[in-house]
Symmetry: C2
Subunit: 209 residues, 2 copies
């Protein structure tokens, strides 16, 4: 929990993966695991696993290993998954729908409070207990409902303007699927999912073999 030196991005990127594997082990009823066994499962070296974890504290026990359930929770805490985030989905095309349903089904810590789209058709939509409306209502909704995260799934051309509105409304984090690199103030956290970069890297790997 103490956070002295800044943790490198490489470490952060591995944490969700650790947690994912630990979640599976937990589901299977596995109670403890050594860094060596986890290493074989997950594909990082045992040394790296121990180094990574010890950035945040000593979660293991010498001669025994790590408690799966405990480590799963601890990593959840490190990632900030010990709370619920109110989120909005902006852009309700097929990708927006896919992400909304993914989040609703799989991400218990993230609650879809609102869904917005430029199109007026959106008003015919229902999604669980979410408020559904056009983008005109976005700013006010975010401000009044303690929304922390926005999922942006609008087309490329609309990405920046939607982001501006959200920043203006006080959003804290953006999960960006809009294929542009957004210009955002330093204080806003952003995670980009660039589909094309990912696909093009795949093309390279194929060529390489």
């Amino acid at each position: 929990m103490k956070q002295t030196k800044p943790i490198s991005k490489a470490v952060i990127k591995r944490l969700p993966r650790y947690r994912r594997y630990l979640g599976e082990l937990k589901k299977k009823g596995v109670e403890k695991i050594s860094s060596k066994d986890l290493s074989e499962l997950i594909g990082y070296t045992a040394s790296q696993i121990r180094q990574d974890l010890n950035n945040f504290g000593g979660f293991g026990q010498q001669g025994y290993g790590y408690s799966v359930a405990n480590l799963y929770d601890e990593i959840g805490n490190i990632l900030g998954l010990n709370k619920t985030y109110e989120i909005v989905v902006v852009g309700f095309g097929r990708l927006g729908q896919a992400m909304a349903s993914y989040i609703d089904k799989n991400e218990k810590q993230f609650h879809i409070a609102g869904i917005f789209d430029v199109s007026n058709k959106i008003k015919d939509v229902e999604f669980k207990d979410a408020f559904v409306s056009t983008c005109e209502d976005l700013k006010e909704f975010v401000q009044k409902n303690n929304i922390e995260i926005a999922v942006i799934t609008v087309p490329r051309e609309k990405g920046q303007i939607v982001a501006d509105t959200l920043v203006d409304a006080g959003i804290k984090g953006i999960w960006n699927f809009s294929s542009v690199d957004l210009e955002l103030p330093e204080r806003i956290s952003v995670e980009n999912v660039h589909m094309s970069d990912s696909l093009h890297a795949l093309a390279y790997y194929m060529k390489d073999k």
Copy 2:
């Protein structure tokens, strides 16, 4: 085009991004750019840009810089985007639909030849000139139509079995959205898009600020 030392993964991950920015510059009619100017735009150091590019050849001209159009093409060649890939989409829920339409609209080098789903409903679907059917026909279709890449958008539980079928049919690359780490032979290239890892990293960054 010569490929002596293996190129690090970090470099590969940056290439599509270079190309993306160069594509925008090209569209704006910019003809040349120096590593310094590109650096300011893209956010890597000029030195890193030159190092990255010189892994593949000397594409610039001293005293002048790089030709935008030329460099764009060269990076496309490096990535393997100077050909067309026949692909199939497996799983035609909302995510599959979103990806199919994204690819069709934005990725000229990737042609959706087939779409498959477990559900029988799929047979009522039409998508451009793609062959549409249930997964029972997947293996034969891949074999007979020179399919190189599969986009897997089926739910977690089905990911591995679909992958096995595809491997069996001789697929070369997999773009995996199914939230599991697939077990694949060494020869298959894979690019994973783990939604949950990405979202959880975002949660961490927010906590960190």
